[in-house]
Subunit: 483 residues, 2 copies
């Protein structure tokens, strides 16, 4: 293990995060929030000094990163980001206990959106802004990882996307990552500006427009409002956020393609079609159920609420415009089902992801052909290309381990005395980086009541889900630590 | 499609089932149940005539059965068995509506044990006996299918067992099936006699001993008692049934091996070890939780109740000695988790089955090795033999389709206005052929309240689960019906 180089890169990351903390520090200064300002200043200064010292001390680190170094680096990056990011929340007393501050920040950086806050609107502006900014930074990190890094490492079958990624060559990781990252971040930034402007038109102030944009584009779900997006009654705001949640759950490579006028390639994208198909079907069925039950007065209004919630859960954002725990059972079951799906690969969305589900569905169909024609040759294709066998294996292993983690996490939660719905949907909502679920973690509830050991464990599970399961689990195998 | 031969074989099957109906008819005669006696006589006579006529008319049917004929034959066998078996229940007025009688009988033949009866003990002896006998017959059928037929057809990765099955040759299906079937049925009969005698020692009368033996060995779960096995307070009875549920969930090939003194092969069986390990772990954890919560007064008593329930759910039997819906949450979540597992392949147990779960767990572990050593070669082995790639594919497809069916079934149930726990565990309990679940289908509840369309659908799902998913789903593919 090349710990020297790993720590050196983590030091750079901490330096970057501390730099971003200057923004909420500025907000604290602007709003005269003295306590929060100090609570930002200390960790920022500490991180600047510590990371500079580490960077200097480790300057002789060997340059080579092997796969296992990569996994350790990615895991440590998220953990140290959350550990540092939690400090201002804890120091300012905004969140009195470190376990809660760590949970909240991990939930932010993993774009989960699960919160332990019970009185969100009582928080200082600077803290609310920082909380939302962790989403935006986490989303930025995850896009680059899933588009440029994980496919090269072969994590969870994301090699599927290898051929698709922009950039001159897949042989050398460094130039590719740098170039790809630049393009993707520009797109991410562009979408951020666009949504913020559109929300400003909708009557939100800059603070609210920015924080909700961060929560949307990262498919995070933190809102500075206790009632989440439901705080706003404007249909325009609901629709803008719905559209941008769907955009955030889309593979970002498609935006690159659209920008370079490869429109046919975008329209023919198999994952995009399935993703939009699943969203539209769920939203329509839910809208019909909401109209029939009289929950909303018109089909149009039902469709707006159903579309928002379907997009929010499918993309693993977790925003709410209504307490869907009061909706008809079939709509709740549809949302429950969507919790298994998730966004597209290469998006900020979590969950199992559409590309894996479509590939496995095709493979299941092929298995039936083999039953009828045992000597036939059937190949699973995706987007016109044959899916290689090792990719299929990786995807199948991913889904299986995902299921095992769901059940294990349910058991851990249940050990605290929680019922089946709470335990199982807490597992779904944290492993899938969604946020809200059903039962005691419903859309108007929060995670504050869980005992500490469950909070630590859920922090670990949010990270595991966010990093495509394998990245974290591999660290716990004996092979990882051998020689 | 060779419909002529398929119908001819189904005719033979109906003849056999009608012959078995002579037993409850005899019981009706012995107990002076005139109405029930007539209700058996008519279908028996009808089936004898119809099947003889069909058998004679179709005597010129071509002899060859291709895979697709095999799938259709298996599906039609179970459907026509349930359709015929439902008649006495309906005709006697014991179950006033055919949809309910069909559900109950399908639940019997698929060894599910889900019941629509609200007042079980009010039923005539003959009807109770017939209901339990459908379990025993269904279990007998499923053992032969999973040990001798499905492996040859390659259903759901059960080829794993191909090399294991007794019999002289795997090339010719007919002699193999006949010989294997004979051995397996003798074992099944032997276990039946043994358990019946042991239950007689426990103070049960012959009727109760037989019906509970049928429910146990088929991992069915029908009991002639409203309180299920909880009706008996004797620890001896609980332990006997616990042991035989575990025996029924074991691969029957192992009994053949034990009888032919291949003891090392039995003790080294990877599936058996995992199966017993899962059972023991779950039972112990549950016993600790039951003791700590004070549900039972001693650890011994807790272990007895925990062991019984863990065995009952893991093997997909569905018997209950207590209302586990009142137990601590962690025990409920453990039972919920066991609902995904199921018994061993080649047993009468349903569910995903241990062999598939162990194989996928090993493969998941291998995928992590590949991440660290991309050019390495790692092969999944089971019981010392390398698992072929096509078997791994089939298993992965099985688990994926199982999950999709679970979610689809939950949605169908929820469309009737039922909550998440009821909808999802109804899906688990029917697809996994378990019987009881949580929520409105808890251990002291029943399936009577579901609307008709849900009952028909659940009948279909019980069949799909029982026949290893693929056997039924393949019939709905376009390829099946082409040329």
């Amino acid at each position: 293990m090349n710990f020297a180089l790993i720590l050196r890169i983590v030091a750079v990351l901490l330096f970057l995060i501390a730099s971003f903390m200057l923004i909420p520090a500025g907000i604290a200064w602007y709003h005269g929030e003295t306590g929060p300002l100090l609570s930002f200043a200390v960790p920022i200064l500490g991180a600047f000094i510590l990371s500079s010292v580490l960077f200097f001390l480790l300057r002789k680190a060997e340059r080579e990163l092997r796969p296992r170094d990569g996994f350790m680096l990615v895991a440590l990056s998220w953990i140290s980001a959350a550990a540092l990011g939690a400090l201002p929340l804890r120091l300012s007393g905004t969140i009195p206990r470190y376990v809660d501050a760590f949970f909240e920040t991990m939930s932010g950086f993993t774009t989960t959106g699960a919160t332990i806050l019970t009185d969100i609107e009582a928080l200082p502006y600077s803290m609310l802004f920082w909380r939302s900014l962790t989403h935006w930074l986490g989303g930025m990190g995850i896009i680059v990882l899933t588009v440029a890094v994980f496919p090269l490492l072969g994590v969870g079958g994301l090699q599927l996307m290898k051929a698709e990624a922009p950039g001159p060559s897949v042989d050398k990781i460094t130039p590719k990552v740098t170039e790809t990252a630049k393009i993707l971040w520009l797109i991410y930034l562009g979408l951020t500006v666009l949504q913020t402007v559109l929300l400003l038109f909708g009557g939100l102030n800059l603070f609210e427009a920015l924080t909700h944009t961060f929560g949307t584009l990262a498919t995070g779900g933190f809102s500075p409002r206790a009632a989440s997006v439901g705080h706003y009654t404007s249909a325009y705001v609901h629709v803008v956020i719905t559209v941008f949640m769907i955009l955030a759950g889309t593979n970002f490579i498609l935006y690159y393609k659209a920008l370079t006028r490869q429109f046919t390639s975008v329209f023919r994208d198999a994952e995009l079609r399935s993703y939009l198909g699943i969203f539209a079907t769920a939203a329509l069925v839910m809208a019909v159920a909401l109209t029939r039950s009289g929950t909303y007065s018109s089909f149009g209004e039902s469709l707006r609420y159903a579309g928002f919630q379907a997009a929010s859960i499918l993309t693993t954002t977790g925003y709410a415009t209504a307490d869907f725990a009061l909706w008809p059972q079939i709509t709740q079951l549809l949302l429950f089902t969507l919790m298994f799906f998730g966004g597209c690969a290469g998006s900020t969305g979590g969950g199992i992801k559409i590309v894996r589900i479509v590939t496995l569905a095709k493979q299941g169909f092929h298995e039936m052909k083999y039953l009828l024609h045992p000597r036939g040759v059937f190949q699973v294709t995706f987007g016109g290309q044959t899916v290689r066998k090792n990719v299929l294996y990786a995807i199948s292993a991913f889904v299986f381990l995902y299921l095992i983690l769901l059940l294990t996490t349910s058991l851990v939660v249940a050990s605290g005395g929680f019922d089946i719905v709470t335990s199982f949907t807490t597992a779904l909502a944290t492993l899938g980086n969604i946020g809200p679920g059903f039962g005691r973690i419903g859309p108007v509830e929060n995670y504050a009541f869980f005992p500490d050991y469950i909070k630590w464990y859920l922090g670990f599970i949010m990270l595991t889900g966010r990093l495509e399961v394998f990245t974290i689990l591999v660290i716990f195998t004996p092979t990882f630590w051998r020689n």
